[in-house]
């Protein structure tokens, strides 16, 4: 038709492949062919445009363009839905489908529509400007339009009043700053308040600067000890104790009697805190019996103060060698104390807060403890290590050296302590030490139950027993947690029979047919049964619980 001449012109100019394609199409249907030809490729169309005689092209183009756009809309609405890039690709595929048959084209269209339908929302969002306008941003814009008139005046108003005040005050304040004693601000209440605010604002930076200096000093010391911190708390404390004593000796040099009293009292405090389990060391000290709690406090304070001084200057220890040796003997006990218990720190911390020398405190806090038997054993081990470690350093005379050596010894001792602790005592999440059930009991029970299970070979290996112990530990942890929760829920502070009965019911250990009593008769010896029967509650409480349940149901 009208397109034929351009097509005829096109082949020589454009690629050789086009003319054959187009000609068959022309024979089939002109309109389609036109559309296809126009859309074949933008390049091709552009070239054709360029090649066409100028006068003719606009008319033909215009005539062809009209039908093209219609065609395109009819053909692939889905294509329009998509982005332009995608649309072009789709067109390409659609064109080929068209080539096959109109039905194929329709099918293709349906396919594309379906594809688009699979994710209509996405496509719409990407394409349509409406929804973009509906985005939160737009909502905010709308809000701003609504609020703008109001907000604009509001914003200036607060600022407005302030600046004038500031301006008025500034001269006055400057004067005040120069001479804070002026009374003007005080006369007007608001002015006075604001001055306070200003002062508060001004002050913090100053204080912060001071604190920073202190902190830096602290951080230096902390770094030293932090190297082996966790094992260290004990070590560091121990080392502190030694330092403290040596410092006190230095004090002694300055003040003979006062220093000695303080020193003795501090040592005694350590002793008192610890235990009487170390009789030899304690007996060595004369002042022990004379100690009173007040003396302890005084001694501790002095010791800490002296510590601070000692830390600053390491010269002192060197001056009195004999004192140092003594100090080491003395120091042993405090370390043990510290090692044994870290939990009691807060009490000491309070005392320390009162002291002027606070920074030194956290590490050398001696703890008041009543160590258990096991801990005593541990302590003994620790003491031995300490003695070994501590004996060499006195000759060196330097406090720092002593500290380091002591720490090393402490590390070794700490490892031993850990091993020893793991054997028996564990610590619950509440920080309370607890023993685990004796292995013998568990083994006996487990063996008997294994027999009941029909396993003829009842011997349990050590690994198995360990696993069972672990399981029973977990069991007790879980059960105690639950019991505590039940008690708390009931508003009780003590765990009651009702709690365990409830728990067993929830564990499905007891049900309608099995009561805790029947189970107890099965599993427990008579003595314990008697204890159980001494206490009526289980059945009664069960009855009550049932009543409660009934009441709840009624409600």
């Amino acid at each position: 038709m009208s397109t034929n001449p351009p097509d005829g012109n096109a082949p020589p100019d454009g690629s050789s492949a086009r003319p054959p394609r187009i000609t068959p199409r022309n024979s089939d249907s002109d309109d389609v062919l036109i559309a296809a030809a126009a859309k074949e490729t933008p390049y091709g169309t552009l070239r054709q445009l360029a090649n066409f005689p100028r006068p003719t092209t606009p008319l033909r183009r215009a005539s062809s363009a009209g039908p093209l756009s219609q065609r395109s809309t009819r053909r692939t609405p889905a294509g329009q839905v998509r982005t332009p890039g995608a649309a072009q690709r789709i067109y390409g595929s659609g064109r080929r489908a068209v080539v096959v048959t109109p039905h194929g084209r329709a099918a293709q269209r349906g396919l594309e529509a379906r594809r688009a339908g699979l994710t209509p929302a996405r496509m719409d969002r990407r394409r349509s400007g409406r929804q973009q306008r509906e985005t939160p941003r737009d909502a905010l814009r709308a809000l701003s339009r609504i609020l703008a008139p109001k907000t604009l005046p509001i914003v200036p108003t607060p600022h407005g009043p302030r600046p004038p005040n500031v301006n008025f005050r500034l001269p006055g304040e400057d004067d005040l700053d120069d001479g804070p004693e002026l009374e003007r601000p005080r006369l007007s209440l608001p002015i006075g308040d604001e001055e306070d605010d200003d002062d508060s604002l001004l002050l913090p930076p100053q204080s912060a600067g001071l604190e920073d200096e202190n902190f830096t000093v602290q951080s230096v010391e902390l770094g030293r000890r932090a190297i082996s911190e966790q094992p260290l708390n004990r070590f560091s404390r121990g080392s502190f104790g030694s330092v403290r004593l040596s410092d006190q000796f230095a004090d002694m040099n300055q003040l003979d009697f006062d220093g000695r009293d303080a020193y003795d009292s501090s040592i005694m405090t350590g002793r008192d805190f610890e235990d009487d389990d170390l009789p030899g060391d304690v007996s060595g000290f004369p002042g022990r019996s004379d100690n009173t709690e007040t003396l302890r406090d005084l001694g501790l304070d002095r010791g800490r103060i002296s510590l601070a001084s000692g830390r600053n200057s390491e010269i002192r220890p060197g001056t009195v060698p004999a004192d140092d040796t003594e100090t080491f003997v003395f120091t042993v006990p405090p370390r043990d104390i510290t090692e044994l218990q870290e939990s009691d720190q807060p009490e000491e911390a309070l005392i320390q807060v009162e002291d002027e020398v606070r920074y030194e405190v956290p590490y050398d806090i001696p703890d008041e403890d009543v160590p258990d038997e096991e801990e005593d054993e541990l302590d003994d081990i620790g003491n031995e290590d300490h003695d070994l470690a501590s004996s060499p350093p006195p000759a060196d005379m330097d406090i720092s050296l002593q500290d380091t050596t002591l720490r090393e010894g402490d590390l070794a001792s700490a490892i031993k302590v850990k091993a020893a602790r793991k054997k028996r005592m564990k610590i619950s999440k509440h920080g309370i030490q607890y023993p685990s059930l004796p292995v013998g009991v568990v083994k006996k029970l487990a063996t008997s139950y294994a027999r009941m299970g029909g396993n003829s070979r009842t011997k349990l290996s050590k690994d198995t027993l360990d696993a069972i112990m672990q399981a029973s530990d977990w069991f007790f942890e879980q059960v105690s947690d639950d019991l505590g929760a039940y008690a708390k829920h009931a508003g009780r502070k003590t765990i009651d029979e009702s709690d365990i009965v409830t728990l067993m019911a929830r564990q499905r250990q007891t049900n309608a047919t099995t009561t805790p009593f029947s189970l107890a008769e099965k599993h427990l010896p008579r003595e314990l049964l008697q204890d159980l029967r001494m206490v009526p509650p289980p059945k009664l409480k069960k009855g009550r619980q049932l009543q409660r349940v009934a009441e709840e149901a009624e409600e």
């Binding site: 602790r421 008997s448 007790f476 929760a485 765990i495 314990l528």
Partner: protein
Amino acid sequence: MAAGQKLYPRATVKKIVKAHSKRNVTKNVDVLIFLDYALFLQTLMKEASINAKQAGERGISAKSVKKVTEVSFLIEVQGLTTTSEYVDEVVNKQTPPVVEQQ
């Protein structure tokens, strides 16, 4: 049951529960708690022996015990989470500041 002279140290059980729950324990609760423990141990051993037989082991190995332990604890925990009180407890519970020194 192995009655023996003493089935278990009552004080120890009390201590354990007290340490974990941070609550006091009334006089004879430990008996029931131990009963519960005995039942637990029974099921544990039963399951462990079943597991061991399935695995073709002789006797009961630590492995089978551990497997059974995991399963039983999962069940227990699940039961716990469904209990409203426990959930409340968990919600309200404050994590202890410093727990383990080991």
